[in-house]
Amino acid sequence: MRQKQIISSPLIGEEMIKITHESGLTVYISKKDFGMSYAVFGTRYGSIENTFTVDGERTEVPHGIAHFLEHKMFESEDGSDGFEKFGKYGADANAYTSFDRTAYIFSCTENFYESLEVLLRMVTTPHFTEKNVEKEKGIIRQEIKMCEDRTSYRRYYNLLKALYGNLPIAIPVAGTVESIGKITPELLYKCYNAFYRMSNMALCVCGNLDEDSVMEIVDRVIGNRSVGTVLPEYPADDLEAASGFISDEMDISKPIGAIGLKIPLNVKNEVLDILCNAVFGESEEFYSSLYEKRMVNHYDIGCDCVRNAKTMIIEFDSDSPKKVYEGFLKHIEKIRIDGVDVEAFERAKKTEYAETLRKYDSSISVAEAVFDGFIDGNDFIGLAERYSAVTADDVNQLAKQIFKKESTALSVVCPKGYIEAEKD
């Protein structure tokens, strides 16, 4: 039975349509007067869904298979290529995979409905053969090597390793040169059939669009596909068991660091964002005093909220990453006891409000934010209201709950031979 809702944000005067299709697919349509339209068709399936059970049969797959599958979805049985089909209509197509999602996207200024049909057909008709799977391994090996040369990539995954040990969240999304060697067409079909079920997927479109035309294509291409039962396994994590310090060496000029803090899964993302900004934002004492003392440069903060892991991360360049980490530990202890400064809390709320508004300024950012909301289980349209409802008490309680040394780790990537000097 199809269900349709108009969902809205009175605070910023926006609304959109949410439809649960007969197939189980969730469709979001945001009508905006933009010249460019954008579509995301994606699934709640990423690199962390590495072990799963379908109808009682348990399967464990090689790391990197979700990303590999995404690459292969662009090939069709007739030998044609997905990019070519989009190109015929002038649409710009792409795809991405992360820890907990895979998304297929396109943008265009003309021929939206033709391109939408290409997108839906491409993602619902897999074609994996021994030959095309082997061919892809060469391309993805190069992608992995390119990423492994990036200092920020090494710093990030080392941090996750320190925080989460051997859990799938700590394995690179694309896998390793070794793991992708084990991928076969049979395994790809198993993953596809398990996770590309319509009840696990969403279509998010934004632009100057007509609801009936979008749904006519959905009806025609998606139809009423059967829904099976899939149980992904997420190994349990001990929130208070992080390894504290991890280091690596590369051909770089000065150390770079990242501090991570594990967050319980039931914490509301909006409260977490405001706490993170009010304590570690660039308008606050913590960052400012480090910068004034010349202890950090290229400083960045953020919260990675994935289905089975939430992490607050601070990244920076520094000659003394360990001193920055010591300062961080002292600061979280102070905030845990004293609470967050009231003015900092107000500044952080304004920042999040402005950040939400920015997402409404292009069809890409609207549709992507809506898809983010689907993955997180919250409609994007209510985000400004959810931020507005956060109180200083919420933020202080969260600080008391999560600011613990045992949940933190420091990842450092140093120039070769630098580690000894850092001990001073």
């Binding site: 990019f83 002038g90 492994e148 040369d149 000029s253 000065k254 660039e282 360049d317 304004k350 402005a354």
Partner: protein, 430 residues
Amino acid sequence: MKVEKMNCGDGIEFSVLRTDKFKNDILVVNFLMPKTEKNIAVGNLLSKMFLRGTEKHSTNLGINRVLAGLYDASVSVAHIALPDAMCFRLSCNFVDDRFIPDGDRTSVLSGVISMIKEMLEFPLTDENGNWKEEYIQSEKSNLLDELRAQKNNKDSFALRRFSEIWHEGMSMALNSGGTEDSITEVTSADLNGYLGEMKKTAPADVVFAGNYTAFKEEKCLEFIKFLSGLRSGCKTNYINAVPEIAAAEKLKEVREKTDAKQSRMLLGYRIDKSGASRYARSVFCEIFGGSPTSRLFTNVRERLSLCYYCSATYSESTGELTVRSGLDAENRDLAADEIARQLKLLADAENISSGELEAAKKGLVNMYKSINDNVYAYSSWYLSSKLCGLDTDIDNYVSGVCEVTAEQVAVVASAVKQEISYILVGNVKE
């Protein structure tokens, strides 16, 4: 979006991109300065010093707090290298007043303009006009770190080395991060000299993009008047952002080593602009290596599986075509041969299918029209086109591209001459 341009005299131009589609507005001020090794270092340092404080807000924290209070308005200061000039850019991005919640009467634009006026007129100096030495040393140290860190990112490092070697002896070869010596030598007097020249004689472009109400018009015009007041009657310098470039006489082949898992190959070509229109050159680049349906993507990556990326970009201002790919060094010749083969094939119009041509044209039209739909992309595209003396009307591009024929693309392909082959070899067996 249509641009309304005003020549305000004193070398100042003001452009308004009027639209109420968006919830944020942009105000950008560009000053064009000569490109020299010294100016690069001084301008880079000045861009950092602007954010360390003003007379009224004497710390970085003070500035950040004012901006955060203005609904997270941002004022970024950048010193950008153009082919033959430097652009000192103050750019502000802020929530449109319509979306400020009831009960908060903040005028964000007024606050943002006050901040950039303070940066220009009342920077953080002492009674003798000297910049704070502690901050100078701190920011020099950051600039030196950034310069040394260029080798950390192998992709951009390879591109920089490629450009330095290709453009040896030209201003385009200058490192946009400066040099160790030039950064170390900057003094407080140099900062004042650069700032004084910039305020008094540099050609200035001001762009507002967004919901341009009568109130905002009043504020922007007041700001233009303020900029005119800084001129003190001085004559504006004429600065050309693009140099005259002579074709190379022989092919440069350079091989360098690095500590990395992947090798980076870059090939540089010059396109003779006399044979076809700029639209034909854009379509050629799109077919050759500009998209996932291009010759390079479908052959070097998809058919031969040699790399994750192999793409081409073209700069109309310099007439230069650059092909980039990340691969194993042992596959370098295979990839380079295939790239040369595809280039040769495109020199014959018979080898360009109508489907391929139409897809490339549609892809470009989509790209140009998309720029029109994003206030950030549009203001950035408008300014870079204008600074390099290129047409700033998107409709002209769209209609020009639509008329390109396969024969015109072939003319461009046959006018492409390779000038450099560069590879940064990683730690793999060769």
